[in-house]
Symmetry: C2
Subunit: 309 residues, 2 copies
């Protein structure tokens, strides 16, 4: 089944305790595409770049079954640029530069060839931009997931609440879930969010794993304990890409299959952080992915039958 | 099989965002005893209290198969007293008062009736005090676990390193593992600690669960996502008590059985935080424990067979 991925394709400058890189490709939709295309083809990309975005990156994506008909290339302008520096704990970072460039006037257009897609991943963008994609789809996808961030809660909360009514799942981090609901307890925050529209919620907790909620159930997947997190940039989007890639590959949106999707997403994210930017995602093989998923199984599996009487 | 538990029995004054209590029984060995005695009898307690420690608490413990021959009662003195206030996130707290009282001159004495115990839990005490217990045992227990804290790393590091050479497992929180090794990465910290003596290591991460390491393997258990953590006091000791109780009940110190022990400990800790002090631990039934363990199974279990080719 096909997956539409909407989001940014960009350049990043990244500094971590392990090193620094001045200009590497990035953006939410780039990470989603690399992760999801390991599981499903086509991934139908909707994004915008400037003239400066490298053709080799486009070629690499197409080679992996990523369709770029929905990626606008704006002549005479530059791609979105983000620069950040991570703190030693890697859970926090300072944003140094945000140059919107082509993103400032981004109006996504859904190509005719994308119509009928069963899965839609709305990366973090202005809620009105996310909404415009939903409205352009003639047939509602089987499953719509959206990401968002604190910024939109501050300046576009009404728009955000509107989009929430049209999606099946919200995928945010713990700080975002807390800010969206004003609840410190993630269990209470989850309950509030599930009353805003989505039937499902994933709360990403970075190195502490991820939680999946529906009205009745909760599932927890750990992050892999790693010797070093080299660069966390894109890990959340890679998680989303692996999750949606697995769902779209199987076409199964049961809670049980979402659990598997979270393990797949966690495995892909664990690769992402091993090198700068999307570098590692381009290197891994299917065997690497299968091995990593086995590591996750070993990490959490246990058998217990307790007879206390 | 029998379990010796060494540690404090005390009074606590606790303030959390949900309320406050001026005087409630506490101390590491009290929590260990309530948790472990749900699984194994006898729990052989070694501690010290003042004249003020309530006889009803002693009776309650004995009713549960906790032996108190090793608990010294010091006439004319008061029990150890700790007072603390938790921050909203419940992961950090301010200590307001620490009155050592009887703990200042505590010299544990192992009663003859405790000799031959197969399991030993050394709660957080001065390393030299922990060491004196090990030395008094005529036969080395099958499995020795120790807890410790940052304070001893600062003022008694040599003694601490000596005890580490005599135990099978260290059980600490993430901040303590980092301080002990100077490693930020918990995977690297684990490797360092496993070279200091213990063959096994548990790193407690509070609301983020716990990790079990040996030289070759790692296992992760989540904490239960709770609506409210009412009072975290004693959760780590309750975890230790559940873990050791399960090991002592089964007599099995394989890595597989330690995984089960961690789930049992996590389940007991999830009860502990539901009410002030040890209140909730005194209420729960075997059926409550069995149900809670099932909740943990449901929380993390998944089936995945991925065929990517």
């Amino acid at each position: 089944m096909s997956l539409i991925s909407v989001g940014t394709m960009a350049f990043d400058a990244i500094e971590t305790p392990f090193g620094k890189v001045d200009r590497i490709t990035g953006g939410s939709a780039l990470y989603v595409a690399y992760a999801a295309s390991a599981f499903v083809k086509p991934v139908q990309q909707i994004s915008v770049v400037g003239e400066d975005f490298p053709q080799e990156e486009m070629d690499e994506l197409m080679k992996r079954g990523v369709q770029l008909d929905g990626v606008q290339i704006i002549k005479g302008q530059n791609s979105f640029f983000w620069s950040g520096r991570y703190h030693e704990d890697m859970n926090s970072r300072d944003t140094l530069v945000t140059d919107l460039n082509v993103l400032a006037d981004f109006k996504p257009v859904v190509p005719e060839s994308y119509q009928g897609a069963e899965f839609l991943m709305l990366g973090n963008l202005a809620p009105s931009t996310q909404m415009s994609v939903i409205k352009q789809l003639k047939q509602r996808p089987k499953f719509i997931v959206m990401d968002t961030m604190n910024f939109w809660m501050e300046i576009a909360m009404n728009d955000l609440e509107e989009v929430l009514k049209h999606v099946d799942m919200l995928l945010v981090n713990d700080a975002e879930a807390r800010q969206l609901t004003g609840q410190f307890s993630l269990v209470k925050a989850a309950r509030s969010i599930l009353q805003m529209g989505p039937k499902y919620l994933i709360i990403k907790k970075g190195e502490h794993g991820a939680l999946l909620f529906d009205k009745d159930s909760v599932f927890f997947a750990p992050a892999l304990p790693l010797e070093d997190v080299f660069d966390p940039t894109g890990a959340g989007d890679t998680f989303a890409g692996g999750f949606m890639g697995h769902l779209a590959r199987t076409g199964d949106i049961s809670f049980e299959n979402m659990k598997r999707g979270i393990i797949v997403g966690s495995a892909m994210a664990s690769f992402c952080v091993e090198k700068f930017g999307p570098t590692r995602l381009k290197e891994i093989s299917n065997a690497d992915i299968a091995n990593r998923i086995q590591v996750f199984k070993d990490l959490v599996s246990f058998e217990i039958e307790l007879d206390l009487d």
